[in-house]
């Protein structure tokens, strides 16, 4: 994950508390989405950014996961994400995200 985004996630978490932060990932590939999810849960796996060695354990979902999709207006979802959902390997992304949450997230809800 971009170093600047890591800094922003860290600042927001410090300000509002981990309980009140949910990270929504939009990466187009399972592996890249998983790396971003790992960064905001276990810490930066590349040890380059502000989250290196900082396991925030946040709630993290991808925009094509039902946990996010079911929470938003379906018309707006179709307008903004429907096309991408058609194109992406949704199953692989969901599997990767689930695996990262199970391993590193402090929230199992």
């Amino acid at each position: 994950m971009d170093l600047e985004n890591q800094r922003r996630v860290k600042e927001i978490t410090d300000e509002y508390g981990a309980d009140n932060v949910v990270v929504i990932i939009g990466g187009g590939e399972a592996e890249a989405a998983g790396l971003a999810a790992e960064t905001v849960t276990a810490g930066d796996p590349t040890y380059a950014g502000p989250l290196a060695g900082v396991p925030l354990g946040l709630r993290v979902y991808h925009a094509v996961e039902p946990q996010f999709k079911d929470e938003v207006d379906s018309e707006i979802y179709d307008e903004q994400i429907g096309m991408m959902e058609m194109v992406l390997d949704v199953d692989a992304i969901q599997e990767e995200m689930r695996s990262i949450r199970e391993q590193y997230s402090n929230y199992k809800d």
Partner: protein, 507 residues
């Protein structure tokens, strides 16, 4: 009349030493973790010049292979060299780092580059093959290596290395100003020198007289300037000088990866408006992006595939009745109000021009999107970028009920191409296909192509907005522009002649 896209050239420079010393991933790593395993292992993952030449995507870039041919090469492509590969191609050439270092000195107008004397002797015959204008053809005598080393060790000069050996350095141009430090000057001289190579290749391969060029637009991603005007410019004119375009002026256009498309639209407009007869659009390469994904490549025990600097040049002329036209009336734009979701971006760039022209998405024979080489991006977890873009265009066609969902893969095959461009930011963005498109129009294989450029403006922290521009190229209907006589004038002359004729009948 719509302007013609007359010629295109493409240059790669194999730069393994610059991967190690100038790529931003490596520069950051040396600051953060100088003893890292990655930096130790990196030299063992660099390719030879011969390997780089025989790499199929690079052969496509300079025109020795058609993009479609990559479909027949088993992935990963770096494992399957092209047997008949050549460093010279119909659309450009692959150069060695040592020649670039010589050319950097030629491009150095302020004596900021020192080259070691033996290297000067060695490289001059190679520079002679570029046929530079006489005043730029010969290197000044070199200096002793001890002087180069003193500049590097005592005065923050950036080393210039060839084959792992220091052969010169780039000095800083100011003691305090970070915009003129040796790292920035080196980056900018590389942009200038690689831009020169692309310009020279276009002039040579398309037999264009440099004196016939009145205007140049440079559209890379670096900024030339000082602390009072960080991006003041002007690479375009600096390059024009070296390639012998003595009648030209020029300017720089910036817009991240979308800049080449902005530049092509600007150039087309200047030509169509009659401001200039032709405009040369060109861009040099980015040392910062060398080895950008090197950590992933090394971790997966692959060669570091981001080992080339990319450059290109495109010439836009008045309609010549032969070369494809640029449809300036239906330019696609991502506007402020468009929104940044991929769906909104694709709708504005693809559906926009297609709808304006009264076409269907499938009426465009080939789309050229971000043509990043998937050999590079897949191991870095970024997937196959062009393929993802083509799927989005196909999905757009599904949503418009032009094709069925089950036809997405067929659409990608018919209207898309595998990616072959190095991940040099502005280089992959649409423009690598222009040269191949010229050939396909000539061979009658296509009637219409769309070139799409997209840019991530948020990287500059000035806006969260995305950006993009797209243009349609069409087969030339075959009517050349008559100098000084417009269509309206011809109509007027005809009607006057008919009136005179009718009057003479009545007499």
């Amino acid at each position: 009349m719509f302007p013609s896209l007359r010629a295109a050239s493409y240059v790669l420079v194999h730069a393994p030493d610059m991967v190690i010393h100038n790529g931003s991933t490596q520069v950051v790593e040396r600051i953060v973790n100088p003893e890292s395993d990655y930096l130790k292992k990196l030299p063992d993952h660099l390719r030879s010049f011969e390997e780089v030449v025989a790499y199929a995507p690079n052969q496509v870039y300079i025109g020795n292979l058609r993009p479609e041919a990559l479909r027949d090469v088993e992935e990963p492509w770096f494992k399957h060299s092209v047997e008949s590969a050549s460093e010279d191609g119909p659309m450009g050439r692959i150069f060695e780092e040592r020649l670039l270092i010589g050319l950097i000195k030629i491009c150095d107008a302020f004596d900021l580059v020192l080259l070691e004397e033996a290297f000067v002797e060695e490289i001059q015959p190679e520079l002679d093959t570029l046929h530079l204008p006489e005043k730029f053809a010969k290197l000044k005598p070199g200096v002793e290596l001890s002087r180069v080393m003193a500049e590097i060790e005592e005065r923050h000069a950036e080393p210039l290395q060839a084959g792992g050996k220091i052969v010169g350095c780039v000095k800083r141009a100011h003691d305090i100003d970070p915009n003129l430090d040796s790292h920035v000057i080196m980056e900018n001289l590389v942009v200038k020198a690689t831009g020169v190579l692309a310009g020279l290749e276009l002039l040579k391969k398309s037999d264009i007289d440099p004196l016939s060029i009145p205007y140049i637009i440079e559209c890379s991603e670096e900024a030339a300037g000082d602390m009072n005007q960080r991006g003041g410019g002007n690479f375009a004119k600096a390059i024009a000088e070296i390639i012998g375009a003595d009648n030209a002026t020029g300017s720089d256009t910036r817009g991240f990866c979308a800049a080449p498309m902005h530049a092509i639209v600007n150039a087309a407009a200047l030509v169509q408006a009659g401001v200039y007869d032709n405009v040369l659009v060109l861009a040099g390469g980015a040392t910062a992006k060398l080895g950008m994904n090197g950590k992933d490549h090394v971790k997966k025990d692959l060669p570091v595939l981001e080992d080339v600097l990319g450059a290109f040049a495109v010439l836009i002329t008045q309609n010549d009745g032969v070369h494809p036209i640029i449809r300036t009336d239906i330019v696609g734009r991502h506007t402020v109000g468009t929104g940044s979701s991929p769906q909104a971006v694709m709708t504005s760039l693809i559906s926009g021009p297609v709808d304006q022209a009264g076409l269907k998405i499938s009426d465009v024979d080939i789309y050229s999107v971000e043509m990043q080489n998937p050999d590079i991006t897949k191991p870095a977890g970024a997937g196959d970028v062009p393929n993802a873009n083509y799927k989005m265009i196909a999905a757009l066609a599904v949503m418009r009920k032009e094709i069925e969902r089950g036809q997405i893969n067929d659409f990608v095959e018919q209207h898309g191409l595998p990616g072959w461009a190095p991940t040099q930011g502005h280089i992959p963005s649409g423009v690598p296909y222009v040269g191949h498109a010229l050939q396909s129009f000539k061979d009658g294989e296509i009637e219409r192509a769309m070139i799409v450029g997209k840019g991530s403006l948020f990287l500059a922290r000035m806006t969260n907005l995305f950006d993009g521009v797209s243009v349609i190229l069409e087969k030339n209907p075959g009517v050349a522009e008559e100098a000084g006589v417009s269509k309206d004038e011809i109509r007027k002359m005809l009607s006057e002649a008919l009136r005179d004729f009718a009057a003479s009948l009545g007499e």
